[in-house]
Symmetry: C4
Subunit: 195 residues, 4 copies
């Protein structure tokens, strides 16, 4: 399988996920500004999830860009990642409609944690397929951002039952950390091309 | 990141936005022609939004066509534009179902205004990345259409609370102005290629 | 604009239309085979509409394949076609849920007629852009299938108010006529390539 | 028609099918962990269907990769396959919401059986178009997995009325058998390229 077909399929699925999430914004029945207030938490959560899916799309692109050939294990590791991302609209809706209550907030973290683990697996499946001295292995390095995210999600899941604002803060913090785009792979690729 | 992957992803998201909007047309329960009457304002508003999304798709294509290389800021400026466009189905449904009441009509304008600002930011992110003497900077020129649209949306938001027909008229007028396709970039590109 | 981007965007929209139609099949509440019976007419109508969208996708491909360059009028004629096709899920659901009642059956015909007219306009926009002695103009010829379809839809709309089974029969007949794929353009292209 | 456009369109439809299935996961009204329990069977069934659609996507890719040219019968055999796959979200939702009751479990098998038959038809349409001594014909061989699946679905449909757990077990077993990716075509292609 060629990289570009996997990329096109993943792009398609990610584009659909990021767009159908908006279906969680139910058209309010009233016409006053107050009628919008139940939609507001769903909207805020939609915004957060939109940023997360955007981050995954961006990082996923860099990852595949550094991949030469797709094997069957990579294909399934990629579908596994898409599976967890496909659950983001569901948990986004549940968390938003319930004003960030404890269990929905924790489940949001569970899905994000599983997606992060799936991304980690995909990354290592590619590195193992290409050799640990490959360009990608060097680019990923110690993967501090990835490890920090997984710890953060785990903490947010536990904290949701104590104070869900802490969890929400962690989710926002991790998104901000990633918004600084993944320069590691880009830089390594650039260095490689220049030398 | 290559231009064509950003283009393909944006096309995917825009294709989904333009299509799921039709899910706002709820299947009526009766079987008479009268049963269609509550759907009519949603249909009219769907038509207007379809034209708007079509205009964005068209202009977005011309914009990326004049872009040589995608940087991280351009990627996020583009996702920012897609975010606001993704809200068009929601505000279209709310405005249509409430027969163009004041607040929904104003919110429709807010989303269009934010999308116009996002497009403006994307445009300038690209121009700044390429230098102000670039082909695109010359093609955009003073961007009178873009400025006129933003002023129009702002006026329509305010007027929605006085007389929503004025706002509706402004939304239609701006769409008509843009329906004349963006020849500026096309012409500049053509001149460039011929000389 | 290059042909392949218009093709990719149209493919995306058509793929979404053909797939979201299935959302009209509402999951029944009971678990008996009898619980499926209200879904049956929707399913039958879904099948018919699936075939229609498949026919449009196929013919649309042949049409664009014979097109060298996309102009702004072609772009808008194409969006106009996609607009009417995007309404197919809505009228399919209304007609199916109401067991092919008169008004929904007539409206189904109206949308198919408008799509046929939009296709006709797109075809002529392309031919006029390329000259009447072009490959495509020769391939289309007298366009008997297209004219037959438009007459058929018009007859089905009128007959829906007399006996809707006649209309349903006409819709099926037209689909069968088109299922014989559009060999005209394919043949002309092949002749052209061989000489 | 070129292979890559059929591939892109099929990818688009499959990406939408795999993603809109998640819309069957209805956001629960409560905020307790118990509120999730009605969603659990739908989730489990979603996971199974996600794997099935992933298998079809993977095998479909290998199949088209070994195809040189698309004819009209192949195009329609492919749309026929997409038709049955498009019904997977509907039967997944019905089966999941009713805790794997007899009739929904049997109908799930019917749709999978029809998809398997459609895949079989597509496969033979391609082989007949390319000659029985073609690369693909050799790669498919006796198609034991395909025949085993069809027999399995038929057995599961009948057994659903005796004990639906047997049917569920068969559905899972067939998915596991296919998860071992279709090495036949890949291997034959590789042998072919190496000699």
């Amino acid at each position: 399988m060629k990289t570009n077909r996997l990329e096109a399929f993943s792009d398609g699925v990610i584009a659909i996920i990021i767009t159908i999430m908006v279906l969680n914004l139910k058209v309010p029945h009233g016409t006053s500004a107050a009628a919008l207030s139940p939609v507001l938490p769903v909207f805020l959560n939609y915004t957060l999830s939109f940023v997360y899916i955007g981050i995954y799309w961006n990082n996923h692109h860099h990852l595949l860009h550094a991949t030469r050939e797709i094997t069957a294990p990579m294909m399934w590791a990629n579908l596994h990642l898409l599976f967890w991302l496909s659950l983001v609209p569901f948990v986004t809706g549940w968390m938003g409609e319930n004003h960030f209550a404890a269990v929905p907030t924790a489940l949001y973290g569970v899905v994000l944690l599983m997606a992060a683990i799936a991304y980690f697996i995909l990354q290592w499946t590619i590195i193992l397929g290409q050799g640990s001295d490959s360009l990608l292995a060097g680019a990923i390095g110690r993967d501090r951002k990835g490890k920090f995210s997984m710890l953060g999600y785990a903490a947010a899941i536990a904290l949701a039952f104590a104070n869900h604002w802490l969890s929400d803060g962690i989710y926002i913090l991790i998104a901000v950390v990633w918004l600084v785009p993944d320069q590691r792979i880009a830089r390594a690729l650039k260095d490689h091309l220049e030398t």
